[in-house]
């Protein structure tokens, strides 16, 4: 099973690829709304990509109040 750090790295890779931003411009504690310049619907889109990648299912409410990659990784890690 992935460690949390591996999960974070994979999330950052996927987010960078999905929103076409250089990987080195985003880091675990970034506010992804701000760094990626996305709205909450685009964040939900990202969540779908992450679900497919990690083979987990996260209800929308898991993202409520989450705005940084590290916390998001924790939510995913808890279901791996």
């Amino acid at each position: 099973m992935n460690t949390v750090n591996q999960t974070i790295e994979e999330i950052l890779d996927l987010a960078a690829a999905h929103f076409k931003v250089p990987r080195e411009t985003i880091s675990p504690d970034d506010d992804f709304f701000k760094t990626l310049k996305i709205d909450s619907l685009q964040a939900l889109d990202l969540l779908t990509k992450l679900e497919n990648h990690f083979h987990v299912e996260l209800p929308d409410y898991e993202l409520q109040g989450v705005s940084d990659f590290r916390t998001l990784a924790g939510k995913i890690q808890a279901r791996l």
């Binding site: 939900l44 889109d45 969540l47 779908t48 209800p59 409410y61 109040g65 705005s67």
Partner: protein, 585 residues
């Protein structure tokens, strides 16, 4: 009726909706609708691509009456208040009907608020009963304020069996056999208490009567009717005035069907249009823009020759729909576009926040009318709507039937504050006579919004007098409600404003909140202070965050009771500092 594709063979049969004028309360009208349309489908609930629930009006009645009976046995009386705190789903509507059947007053609460905020509003409403979704209840149970909860009966939906619910009961088990007594209410009695703001300061609980809802439903369906076979996709939260009316009361009183999705992932929303052949959907600008992005991306993928044909078809459609929508014809001209939306979509309804005219025009040119409107919780749901005769992307439409609007103190350009008088205007703010007197003057609701009527009677909005913003997600955010998050900030004083309140714009949109900081003597704005602001800001939900700050060099003007004179301060800042001086966070 504004469309040429309405199934008039059905619509003209005058099976039609109930005569709402003869009803004294929502419960009675809904009860008759459940009997009249018993074999029609009223609810579909899907989670991703899995359909979870499909109910007829008869099924709905069968599930809701045992709940009403159990409420009755739990001494829930006429006029008692019951709060619902859930995401959009069938149990929301079933619970609401049981509450109305029992003569109760419904308090729809926003599931996107924090647990502490929800508890504040719950306390203010004095709700005796709370119906709450399990994940939200878990968060509430972890709040320090949980011990003070006053609701004496808590029903928790979808809770795992044998889980500790902190004194709550599983909704699914809370039912009793036997016919409940139907408790009738009068038109002037409260039907709902809907909070338009007030989580951080002064709660604004709009008390809306049965008459408000019955008349609002009559007004809306006069222009945009529902009928059996119509499918409304419910995406906006049902606690929101728009979805409560067009995603519950309106369709139910006309025998239509409401489709709930348990996820708002764009891909599943797009899929739902097709799977359930959606007729109407109400959306906030953020979602409409998302749809636009998706459609444009598809267009961009087309090979040049196909794109050229598409562009010609769009141009032709635009020409032929100049005076009114011709949806049938548009579906023939642009079949691939309409298939992607299920093929039966009649309109996208928007309102509650500023919508880019270009986005509305984009969809209209594809043959998908965007019905833009304007309203506020205090006025029921909508005051104006576009009647599509012809489509106008630059206005919020005309006053609905039965609604009078006028402009107060118009300036030289004819722009004044919009005031409304109608049977849809709320009764009062709960437990706040002073605010009610300030807001409803001589029977006219002062909206705080600035507008002007054009020669065709369309209302155009030009900003607002109020210190608030409306997000693209349709959320009203009052600065006072978020200031508490900055408590303890090491500065002399601070105040949060809507930027457009400080620097009035003659347009809507480009809204943001800013925090004005007055530093202590000899204090310098440094990185540590910035970090404190950023940290506090990040604890707020993303749609409530302040977007920038201004350092102000003078003490804030205050009243004798030391309250900040916000309007005066805003005027001073606005006349001294340029908007461009706001430092973006």
């Amino acid at each position: 009726m504004a469309f040429d594709c309405c199934p008039t063979e059905i619509y003209n049969q005058q099976f039609l909706m109930l005569d709402l004028q003869k009803y004294s309360c929502l419960g009675a009208a809904l009860r008759d609708a459940l009997d009249r349309y018993s074999s029609e489908t009223c609810l579909i609930e899907a989670d991703r691509d899995r359909e979870k629930t499909r109910l007829t009006y008869s099924d709905f009645k069968e599930i809701s009456l045992p709940l009403a009976r159990a409420l009755e046995d739990a001494d829930f009386d006429a006029g008692d208040r019951a709060a619902i705190l859930m995401t959009n789903q069938s149990k929301w509507l079933i619970s609401a009907y049981a509450i109305f059947y029992s003569g109760g007053v419904l308090v729809p609460l926003d599931y996107k608020l924090t647990a502490d905020e929800q508890l504040q509003l719950l306390e203010h409403s004095k709700a005796k009963v709370l119906v709450v979704e399990y994940y939200l209840w878990r968060a509430i149970m972890q709040s320090p304020e949980f011990q003070n909860i006053k609701a004496r009966l808590v029903l928790v939906t979808e809770a795992p069996v044998q889980t500790d619910l902190g004194g709550g009961f599983r909704w699914e088990d809370f039912k009793r056999k036997g016919a409940p007594d139907f408790i009738t209410r009068q038109r002037e009695d409260a039907a709902c208490i809907v909070y338009s703001s007030g989580t951080g300061g002064r709660p604004k609980g709009c008390v809306l009567t049965h008459e408000n809802y019955l008349e609002q439903c009559r007004a809306l369906t006069a222009w945009y009717p529902f009928w059996p076979g119509v499918r409304y996709l419910s995406i906006l939260p049902t606690n929101h005035a728009i979805d409560f009316m067009v995603g519950f009361i309106g369709p139910f009183l006309c025998g239509a069907c409401v489709v709930h999705l348990r996820t708002l992932r764009p891909e599943f929303v797009r899929d739902a249009f097709v799977r359930y052949r959606i007729t109407y959907v109400a959306l906030v600008p953020m979602i409409v823009k998302n749809l636009e992005r998706g459609v444009r991306a598809k267009f961009d993928e087309l090979p040049p020759w196909k794109r050229a044909i598409l562009n010609r078809m769009i141009a032709l459609n635009k020409l032929l729909t100049r005076s009114r929508p011709r949806v049938k014809m548009s579906r023939m001209l642009l079949p691939q576009v309409h298939r992607a939306f299920g093929g039966e979509l009649l309109a996208l309804i928007t309102g509650g926040a500023f919508m880019e005219p270009s986005t509305m025009q984009f969809f209209y040119d594809l043959g998908i009318p965007v019905v833009n409107g304007y309203g506020l919780t205090e006025a029921g749901t909508a005051l104006t709507l576009n009647d599509l005769k012809p489509f106008r992307a630059d206005t919020v439409g005309k006053p609905l039937p039965g609604i009078e609007l006028r402009l107060l103190s118009p300036n030289q350009e004819g722009i004044g504050e919009v005031a409304a008088r109608s049977k849809t205007v709320m009764s009062h703010y709960l437990d706040d006579a002073e605010l009610t007197l300030e807001t409803i003057v001589d029977g006219w609701l002062l909206t705080g919004d600035l507008g002007r009527f054009d020669k065709d009677g369309h209302l155009q909005l030009f900003g607002r007098k109020k210190n608030m913003i409306v997000t693209e997600g349709g959320k009203n955010i009052y600065p006072e409600d978020i200031e508490t998050m900055f408590d303890g900030l090491p500065v002399k004083e601070y105040c949060v404003f809507a930027a457009n309140y400080v620097w009035p714009q003659k347009a809507l949109g480009k809204e943001m909140l800013l925090i004005t900081l007055r530093l202590e003597q000899n204090q310098r704005f440094d990185g540590a202070l910035l970090q404190q602001i950023v940290d506090r800001n990040r604890r707020l939900p993303d749609f409530k965050r302040v977007g920038g700050y201004v350092v102000w060099e003078k003490d804030f003007p205050r009243t004798a009771s030391m309250k900040i004179k916000r309007q005066l301060l805003a005027e001073e800042i606005g006349s001294t500092v340029e908007r461009g001086a706001v430092v973006v966070l």
